[in-house]
């Protein structure tokens, strides 16, 4: 078996890049090894069988009416040999596959946790402290555990470069873990080049920064094929922290209104509060700034900066009449600049 392993590693180097994207996680080596081992075992069976078949079809091809020269109808020893013989290879595949699988199912206790929410047709990664982003950011050599849930139908997280996949089932949490082994910044242009046959397209990708793809692998409806995203692997914890800080800050080229709209769509406001006047579970944001609302206790409150800020941080304090008190507090999830941006966005919604 050791010989086989050595052999397929030699071959693995030759054909890497044809069968797989570059291996970028702790599981890649094992998965690729098993794939290539099974591949070569299959080739070892398939090629002689087909050569024999071609030879026999040619060699024993006879004019019509010729009697077959062979009379054998069975050979129990031979049949038992080819029934039982391959079983040893099957047992090995099963055993090695199962051991590898168990490793992939047990995240180390020190793994960093990222909460993942999948919905038709977008992803959201919650990095704690209210930082949420549609991209998956992880640190090289740091075990990462994704705790995934779905808001609607089945989805599946699939990161080909990491060789991992797990369905996301509404109503339960599914766990996926991996340790990235290659930082995306360190990918060479050549390694990124396979992303495209079209140089213009490749340049475009390079300009956006380097990343691995992840896909939704379980069919989920209309825009299933657009439900993909980027995995960025940071070289060090410091790089990651730097990104985390920037992810929680208004980009320099965005106005507070634009950033507020971004937060509105990515942080879950949109689910209940419409921006176009549509009635929903909660009051619409359209024309709400400056209006006067009647509260559940009968008092009237004008919607101003202070009321919005209070509603974000302590939403149950003053609830508009006719709506259930369902909004969660965003205390600790929004910083001051973000609250200001949301207020600016709500202000901008006038018709």
């Amino acid at each position: 078996m050791q010989t086989l392993q050595n052999l397929s590693f030699v071959l693995a180097d030759v054909s890497d890049g044809f069968w797989f994207p570059k291996t970028a996680s702790n599981f890649g080596t094992e998965v690729d090894f098993m794939y290539k081992a099974i591949l070569w075992i299959s080739v070892a069976f398939f090629v002689p069988m087909m050569i024999y078949m071609g030879w026999a079809a040619f060699k024993f091809s006879k004019p019509k009416g010729t009697k077959a020269e062979g009379k054998a109808t069975h050979n129990t020893a031979l049949e038992l040999a080819w029934s039982v013989g391959p079983c040893f290879l099957l047992i090995w595949m099963f055993y090695r596959g199962s051991v590898g699988y168990l490793d992939m199912r047990e995240p180390p206790s020190d793994a960093r946790e990222v909460q993942v929410t999948a919905q038709k047709w977008s992803w959201l990664f919650d990095y704690g402290s209210g930082i949420m982003n549609p991209e998956l950011h992880v640190v090289k050599d740091q075990p990462t555990k994704l705790v995934m849930r779905s808001k609607d139908v089945l989805h599946a997280m699939y990161i080909p470069a990491f060789r991992v996949k797990r369905d996301i089932v509404p109503g339960r949490y599914n766990i996926l873990w991996f340790t990235p082994t290659i930082a995306t910044d360190s990918l060479t242009d050549e390694e990124m080049q396979w992303k495209s046959d079209d140089p213009a397209e490749a340049g475009n990708i390079l300009n956006q920064g380097k990343y691995f793809d992840f896909f939704c692998a379980e069919y989920c409806g209309k825009d299933h094929s657009n439900m993909q995203g980027k995995v960025v692997v940071h070289e060090t914890q410091d790089d990651y922290d730097l990104w985390l800080e920037s992810a929680n800050r208004r980009p320099d080229d965005q106005t507070p209104e634009q950033y507020g709209e971004f937060l509105y769509t990515t942080r879950g406001c949109k689910g209940c509060h419409s921006a176009d006047g549509t009635a929903g579970q909660c009051p619409t944001f359209l024309n709400s700034f400056g209006a006067e609302h009647e509260m559940t206790d009968g008092s009237k409150v004008a919607v101003d900066e202070n009321y919005i800020r209070e509603s974000i941080l302590n939403p149950k304090a003053k609830v508009v009449k006719g709506y259930p008190p369902v909004m969660p507090s965003f205390q600790g999830q929004f910083n001051d600049d973000q609250i200001d941006s949301v207020i600016a966005y709500i202000k901008s919604l006038k018709k």
């Binding site: 069976f45 087909m50 079809a57 009416g65 062979g70 054998a72 069975h74 099957l90 069919y219 409806g221």
Partner: protein, 570 residues
């Protein structure tokens, strides 16, 4: 010298001509006519499913998609899968070829329950109507698997389509039940279980699965309809249901269904390899028992469709182990077929060319299953094009190619016409090349990470997708050639002799096409794979059964031939 078999008494009055008029077909109880109607039905379904496939491949020629909206793409791939599986593959060999052949191979005049047989055909038609209805109204976009909660929330015609599948399920159960009873009770004297043709073993094993597994599909789809209409809370998490439970239910039928699709193909190939090698099948008992083994094991491996869904680790590992066991009987069959060729007298006829193509394609299909049974590799390959390619190699390279081989093999028997051999072989070659060009690139696409059911894809996959599209159209062209060869034979084909290939099973002892009652008198049952008493007669291009010269000739009594003659005179 040896004595030729009795002359062709019934050639001028066969099952196609014994009664006339449209009603004689619509209400026929003749298994051969029902088989022929099924054949037309499944071929039309296949044409629809195949056209949908070509639309998909044309769309995927460009990374951003060519002409379909995402919604349209989803509906097209759903209908492609659903039509191919429920309307084509499942009934293809058992209902079309099986209906025609099972009684004839048994030397019987019909199946055990001819009326049940006809109702099975009309249930199939009714199911097809529901599919057409779904197609013409809001479409269906759930994938053929109807996974919840998507299927309980989408606005498309899930109820019409599942009702259709429910009805088709009963059609399948009726056919299966009929064959079980027919094989159990109507075998002629002398035909013991181990003297049955292997095609009958395969059909019998298939029928067992059909009768045992299909009711589970029925109940699952009823529950799905209830969930959609009444929110009973079994599959939809919004009402405290469990979507994974649906997958267990669904695959408990649908994995055995894979063997409903492939086992009859094994039966066809067993016949083809032996007859066209003019040599006894090698390892008859191993092949026959492996069919039964597959039928039983097929009920124990459904979980391998759900390795990524969130089953417990131990369940997943057990299902992986069971999955490997089912590969053994399939491998046994392939080895035995190859051994059958050894020292045979091989005729490279059209059916044999299809059989050889089957061997190549099915072996790839089977071996790539190993990648998916192994857990570590499956986690990477699950729900990618690798899986798509794997099951197309099994179902299309396997079942469809075997179906075509069987169709060419029994076509002279069914229609009484010989087709053009040269063009038949050319069609096999084009189908073989087109098929590999379509699906080999898809293995690479899958291992490189291309997920299935995507209406558009990343630009790095463009080259392989284009190869696949070109292959699909080549394949479509090859199938068109095959169809033209068959249709052409109906008008221009030579009249088929009784036994054009030299087969020893009973269907080759009746005329082509068979008379209404199949046999003038009950045929003598012998070894279905003994070719020693078949002599080729170049003048009539026919193989005739002979009797060896005898030292001692029995006293002349011969009541049977006289009986036939007197009947004809009368």
């Amino acid at each position: 010298m040896s004595k030729a078999a009795t002359a062709d008494h019934a050639s001028d009055d066969n099952y196609l001509t014994n009664t006339k008029g449209i009603m004689s077909w619509i209400v026929t109880l003749d298994h051969k006519r029902i088989g022929l109607m099924y054949l037309i039905g499944v071929m039309v379904s296949f044409a629809i499913g195949g056209t949908l496939a070509l639309i998909l491949r044309a769309h995927l020629y460009n990374p951003q998609g060519s002409f379909l909206s995402n919604d349209a793409y989803n509906q097209v791939f759903t209908l492609h899968g659903a039509v191919m599986i429920f309307l084509f593959i499942i009934p293809s060999i058992p209902a079309a070829l099986g209906n025609f052949l099972v009684p004839v191979m048994l030397g019987a005049k019909d199946v055990a329950f001819p009326r049940l047989n006809l109702s099975s055909f009309y249930l199939w038609c009714a199911g097809a109507v529901f599919f057409l209805f779904a197609l013409c109204t809001t479409g269906l976009d759930t994938g053929w698997t109807f996974y919840t909660p998507y299927s309980t929330t989408t606005s498309t015609s899930v109820i019409a389509a599942t009702t259709g599948v429910f009805i088709l399920g009963f059609s399948s159960i009726f056919t299966g039940l009929n064959f079980i009873v027919t094989v159990n009770t109507m075998r002629p004297p002398g035909m013991t279980w181990f003297k049955m043709p292997l095609f009958l073993w395969a059909i019998y094993s298939t029928a067992v699965i059909q009768v045992l597994a299909t009711p589970v599909l029925g109940i699952t789809l009823l529950l799905l309809i209830c969930e959609r209409l009444m929110h009973i809370g079994i599959f939809d998490p919004a009402f405290n249901g469990d979507p994974v439970a649906f997958q267990h239910f669904f695959w408990f039928y649908s994995h055995p269904a894979v063997y409903i699709m492939i086992l009859p193909a094994f039966g066809v190939i067993s016949e083809l390899m032996s007859v066209h090698s003019h040599k006894s099948i090698f390892g008859y008992r191993f092949i026959a028992l492996s069919s039964i083994a597959i039928a039983l094991l097929s009920f124990l491996v459904w979980g391998h469709h759900m390795f990524t869904s969130g089953m417990s680790e131990i369940t997943t590992i057990i299902f992986s182990a069971l999955t490997f066991t089912v590969s053994v009987p399939s491998a046994i069959k392939v080895f035995n077929w190859l051994a059958t060729m050894y020292k045979g007298s091989i005729s490279l006829t059209t059916p044999m060319c299809y059989a050889l193509a089957f061997m190549f394609l099915f072996t790839i299909g089977g071996l790539t299953g190993l990648f998916l049974g192994t857990l570590t590799t499956d986690l990477h390959l699950h729900d990618t094009y690798f899986v798509v390619s794997h099951f197309h190699y099994v179902m299309m390279g396997g079942t469809l190619v075997a179906f075509l081989g069987g169709l060419f093999h029994w076509w002279p028997k069914m229609t009484g016409k010989m087709f053009n051999e040269t063009w038949g072989r050319i069609s096999a070659a084009i189908v073989f090349i087109g098929f590999n060009l379509t699906f080999l690139p898809q293995f690479v696409l899958g291992s490189r990470g291309m997920p299935r059911r995507y209406a558009s894809y990343d630009p790095e996959f463009t080259g392989l997708h284009r190869m696949s599209t070109v292959g699909a159209f080549t394949l479509g062209f090859g199938l068109l050639v095959a169809l033209i060869v068959l249709l052409h034979s109906l008008y221009r084909g030579k009249k088929a002799p009784r036994n054009p290939w030299g087969g020893a099973t009973l269907e080759w002892r009746c005329s082509s096409p068979p008379p209404y009652y199949n046999f003038e008198r009950p045929p003598v049952v012998g070894n279905p794979y003994y070719f020693g008493d078949l002599e080729y007669d170049a003048k009539s291009d026919d193989y005739v059964f002979t009797e060896p010269d005898r030292e001692v000739v029995p006293q002349k009594l011969e009541p049977a031939p006289q009986h036939v003659d007197s009947k004809k005179d009368a």
